[in-house]
C-alpha cells in the first residue's frame, strides 16, 4: 500500500460554522443549518431552504480587511477565508518558501456578483470593476493574491465533483514532484443562477433534504468553501509537521450517460470507486466510513447506492452517511468540505450521522448511519458526482508515524 499524500492544514466556512472547530462541533451535535434564504433577494424565498453562511458580503469583506474598492465576489471572499485558515493551520508563514501551488474549484465563479449587477453596469461606472470578477480564474487569482502566493495556480470546474478533482490533481502534483506544497479545495457562494437552475431541473426539496430515504424529495443548495494543504513527505520530515491524515487514493471517471442525470447502475461512480481502490492499494473491506455524495435527489441516491453495492457487496457496506442535511449541497465546494469532514472523522474516530432519514429505499437494503457513532476509523471513502457525468472518489487514511 502506498503511503499517500500528507494533509497538514484545513480551513472551512460553511452554513454550520466559520472554522474547522465550529463545523466539527455542529456535526457531532447534530446542529444542521438548513434555513430560509436571507442574503439573496429571490422570489423563491418561501418555497426552498438552503445552507447559507449567515454573513453579509459587507461582513465578509470587513473580516478580510478588504479595501472599499475591492472587486471580490462572495465566492472569492469565502474562498479566501477558508484558504487563509488552511495555510495558518498548516503553520505556513512563508508561502513561497517552497514550490507552492493553489488549485481551486468553482461551479459558476463570480456569478453571484454578475447576476446582481447584470444590467446596471452601463449606468453605474462604480460597478464596472466587477465585470472581470465573473470567471472562475478570478476567484483563484484573488485567493492567491491574498495569500501572497506566486506559483502554479489553476481552477477546476466539473460541476459538483470539482473540488474532489482539485484534491486529486494536487495529490498527483505532490507525488510527481511538480510541487512541494499545494492548497487544494473549492468555493461556491449561493447564487440566483444556480438556485433557479436547479429549480428548473425540479431536483430541489421544498423541505429538508433526506439522503437515502425512500421518500426523498430532492436537495437543498448550500454555500461553502474549504481548502486543504497537501505537502510532500520531504517538507513534513524537514519541518516535523503534524500530518492530519493522508490522501491515499483517488480516481475520476465519466458516466457518459446524460448531461445532468446519473445512469441507473451508477457506472461512472462504480468506475471511480474501483479505480480509487486500485491506485491506493486498499480494498473495499478496509473502509470504515463512506461519506457519500448523497444529495437526496431520487436519481443520485439510487445510482450511487447501486454503485456502492457493486463495489462493496450488499451485505458488506461500511457505515455511511451524507453530511448534506447539515450543509446543503455546496456544489463545487462539496467535495472540499466533505474532505474536511472525512479528515475529522479519521482524527476523532467518529461517523457523522445521516440526518432526516426515516424510510429505507425500496430498491435495496442500504441503511445509513443515523446516529453519531464512535469507532476506530482508518480509511474513509468520499464520493462526489457532478453534471456531465463527472464522477470522483477520494480515499483518506489515518496518518501513522
Amino acid at each position: 500500500m502506498n503511503k499517500g499524500v500528507a494533509i497538514t492544514g484545513m480551513g472551512i466556512i460553511s452554513a454550520i460554522g466559520n472554522s474547522v472547530e465550529e463545523n466539527y462541533h455542529a456535526l457531532i451535535n447534530g446542529e444542521t443549518a438548513i434555513t430560509t434564504i436571507e442574503n439573496i433577494n429571490t422570489v423563491h424565498v418561501n418555497v426552498m431552504k438552503v445552507g447559507e453562511i449567515k454573513k453579509t458580503n459587507e461582513a465578509l469583506a470587513a473580516e478580510l480587511g478588504l479595501s472599499p474598492d475591492n472587486s471580490f465576489s462572495r465566492t472569492a471572499m469565502i474562498g479566501t477565508i477558508a484558504a487563509k485558515q488552511a495555510v495558518k493551520n498548516a503553520g505556513i508563514t512563508a508561502i513561497n518558501e517552497y514550490k507552492t501551488g493553489l488549485i481551486s474549484a468553482s461551479s459558476v465563479g463570480g456569478m453571484d456578483i454578475t447576476e446582481k449587477h447584470y444590467y446596471d453596469y452601463f449606468n453605474h461606472p462604480e460597478l464596472v470593476k466587477y465585470i472581470g470578477s465573473h470567471d472562475g480564474g478570478d476567484v483563484a487569482q484573488k485567493i492567491s493574491e491574498e495569500l501572497g502566493l506566486k506559483g502554479f495556480v489553476t481552477t477546476i470546474s466539473t460541476a459538483c465533483s470539482s473540488a474532489a478533482n482539485s484534491i486529486m490533481l494536487g495529490a498527483r502534483m505532490i507525488k510527481s514532484g511538480k510541487l512541494d506544497r499545494v492548497i487544494v479545495g473549492g468555493t461556491d457562494a449561493l447564487a440566483k443562477f444556480t438556485i433557479n437552475g436547479f429549480k428548473t431541473l425540479m431536483i430541489l426539496s421544498d423541505t429538508y433534504n433526506t439522503p437515502f430515504d425512500n421518500n426523498r424529495k430532492g436537495l437543498n443548495l448550500g454555500e461553502a468553501a474549504a481548502f486543504l494543504v497537501l505537502e510532500s513527505d520531504e517538507i513534513v520530515k524537514k519541518e516535523n509537521k503534524k500530518v492530519l491524515a493522508r490522501v491515499s487514493g483517488f480516481a475520476n471517471a465519466n458516466d457518459a450517460f446524460h448531461q445532468t442525470a446519473s445512469s441507473e447502475n451508477g457506472e461512472g461512480a462504480f468506475l471511480a470507486m474501483e479505480k480509487a481502490f486500485k491506485t491506493s492499494g486498499l480494498k473495499p473491506s478496509d473502509i470504515n466510513y463512506i461519506n457519500v455524495h448523497g444529495t437526496a435527489t431520487p436519481n443520485n441516491d439510487l445510482s450511487e447506492g447501486r454503485a456502492i453495492i457493486r463495489v462493496f457487496g450488499e451485505g458488506n457496506i461500511p457505515d455511511f452517511s451524507s453530511t448534506k442535511p447539515f450543509t446543503g449541497h455546496t456544489l463545487a465546494a462539496a467535495a472540499a468540505i466533505e474532505a474536511v469532514y472525512s479528515v475529522l472523522a479519521i482524527q476523532n474516530n467518529v461517523v457523522f450521522p445521516n440526518l432526516n432519514f426515516n424510510t429505507p429505499m425500496e430498491e435495496f437494503n442500504m441503511i445509513p448511519q443515523t446516529e453519531l457513532k464512535h469507532k476506530n476509523i482508518e480509511h474513509v471513502l468520499s464520493n462526489s458526482f457532478g453534471f456531465g457525468g463527472n464522477c470522483s472518489a477520494v480515499l483518506f487514511s489515518k496518518a501513522h508515524e
Binding site: T114, Y121, G137, K150, I156, N196, A256, Q259, G388
Partner: protein, 357 residues
C-alpha cells in the same frame, strides 16, 4: 518516463484552419474588434437535432476534437481534458437574462444544463461513450495549459496512452458589450487595430476551439514532442527574462537552442511589454512569431499558438504572416511558447521535433 507526442490536431478559429494546409488562406482583419469565426459545416459532424440545441462553443469543440481524433486515428481516448476561460457563456447569458427579465419565473432548464463549464468535455464523452477521466480547467489564460500539463503528467505516470485535450471559448453578445465597457475589448470605431503597433489598451477578441491528441508513442501523424509546460500566476515585468531562461535551463536548453519563439502579443499596449522584454532582449536573435492578429484574443487562444507551433515543426516552414522579425533558421527543431493575459496567468510551453526512436 514516457514522452508526450502531439499526434493529431483540430482547430476552429477566426481563420480557415480546418480544411486548409497551414494558414495559406489566412486573412489579416485589422478593422474589427471582434473577429468572427470561420464556422465549419456542422452537419458533417453533428446531427441536425443536436446542432439546434448546442451553443457554438460546444459545436466548435465537437468539430475540432473530431478532426484531431480522426487525424490521430484515435477512437476512444484514455482521458478527455478541456480548458475554457469563460465556459459556455452564451447559454449562461441566456439563462441569466431569462431569469432576470422574468423575475425568476417561467424558466426552462436547457440553457442552464448547457451552461456548465464542463459541457464540451462531457458532450464529447457522451458522443464517444468514453467513460475515462474527464477534467475541465477554468483558469483564464492558463485554462488550456492546465489541461496540457495534466495530460502530460498522466502520460508520464503511465496512466494513459492517448489523451484528447482542447481549449474552447465562445463569446456572447452581451458579454462582449460588458467587455467593451470594461475596456477589455478595444473601443468600437477605434480601428484599424494593428496588433504589433498598437498604442491602445484592450484587445481584439474572438473565439475558437483547438484540440490535440497527445500520445505516448510516435506515429505517422506525429507533429512534435511536448517537452515541458509551466504555469505561473504572476511574474513581474523585470522577472520575465530570468523566468524564461530558468524554464529553458530546467530542460537543459539555452536561448540559442530555441529555433523560434511564439508569443501571445495581443495588442494591449499595457501588457505586451512582457513579450517585448523577450523580443528586444534575450530573444533578439531568435525568429519571433505571433498569432493573435489571426486568432484574436480569448482565454484559450494560446491553444491556437500551440497549433501554429506544431504545424511549423511538422512542416518545417513558417508562413510569412506569423513573423514578428525577419530572422530564419534552416531547421525548426525546438520552439518556445510564452503567453500571459493582463500580466497574470503566464505559461511557458516547449515543443520539439521528434528524435528517431
Amino acid at each position: 518516463m514516457n514522452k508526450t507526442y502531439i499526434n493529431g490536431v483540430g482547430c476552429v478559429s477566426a481563420q480557415k484552419t480546418f480544411d486548409t494546409v497551414f494558414l495559406e488562406e489566412a486573412v489579416l482583419n485589422e478593422n474589427d474588434n471582434l473577429l468572427p469565426i470561420q464556422a465549419p459545416v456542422y452537419k458533417d459532424f453533428i446531427s441536425p437535432a443536436m446542432i439546434r440545441r448546442m451553443a457554438k462553443g460546444v459545436k466548435n469543440g465537437i468539430v475540432a476534437s473530431a478532426l484531431a481524433m480522426k487525424e490521430a486515428n484515435l477512437e476512444n481516448p484514455d482521458a478527455i481534458i478541456t480548458g475554457t476561460g469563460m465556459g459556455c457563456i452564451e447559454d449562461s447569458d441566456k439563462f441569466l437574462k431569462a431569469l432576470i427579465d422574468n423575475n425568476e419565473e417561467f424558466l426552462t432548464p436547457t440553457s442552464f444544463i448547457q451552461s456548465t463549464h464542463n459541457t464540451v468535455g462531457s458532450q464529447i464523452a457522451l458522443s464517444l461513450q468514453c467513460k475515462a477521466y474527464n477534467f475541465t480547467y477554468v483558469n483564464a489564460a492558463v485554462s488550456f495549459e492546465s489541461a496540457l500539463l495534466d495530460a502530460k503528467m498522466m502520460i508520464e505516470e503511465d496512466d494513459a496512452n492517448s489523451i484528447l485535450i482542447g481549449g474552447i471559448d465562445e463569446m456572447g453578445d452581451y458579454t462582449a458589450s460588458l467587455f467593451k465597457l470594461a475596456g477589455f475589448i478595444k473601443e468600437d470605431d477605434g480601428g484599424p487595430y494593428p496588433l504589433l503597433d498598437s498604442k491602445t489598451t484592450g484587445v481584439v477578441y474572438s473565439e475558437g476551439a483547438t484540440f490535440f491528441v497527445l500520445e505516448n508513442k510516435i506515429t505517422e501523424t506525429t507533429y512534435a514532442e511536448v517537452l515541458d509546460v509551466e504555469i505561473q500566476n504572476t511574474i513581474e515585468l523585470d522577472e520575465v527574462e530570468a523566468k524564461a531562461a530558468e524554464f529553458l535551463k530546467s530542460n537543459n536548453l539555452q536561448i540559442s537552442d530555441i529555433d523560434a519563439i511564439v508569443l501571445g502579443f495581443d495588442g494591449d499596449v499595457e501588457f505586451d511589454t512582457y513579450y517585448k522584454k523577450l523580443t528586444e532582449n534575450s530573444f533578439v536573435n531568435t525568429p519571433q512569431l505571433y498569432y493573435k492578429h489571426l486568432s484574436g484574443e480569448y482565454n484559450t487562444a494560446s491553444a491556437f499558438g500551440l497549433w501554429t507551433a506544431s504545424k511549423i515543426i511538422k512542416r518545417q516552414q513558417i508562413p510569412e504572416i506569423l513573423k514578428v522579425n525577419t530572422l530564419q533558421k534552416s531547421q525548426y527543431k525546438t520552439i518556445l511558447l510564452y503567453n500571459q493575459y493582463k500580466g497574470i496567468d503566464h505559461s511557458f510551453t516547449l515543443i520539439s521535433d521528434v528524435k528517431p526512436q
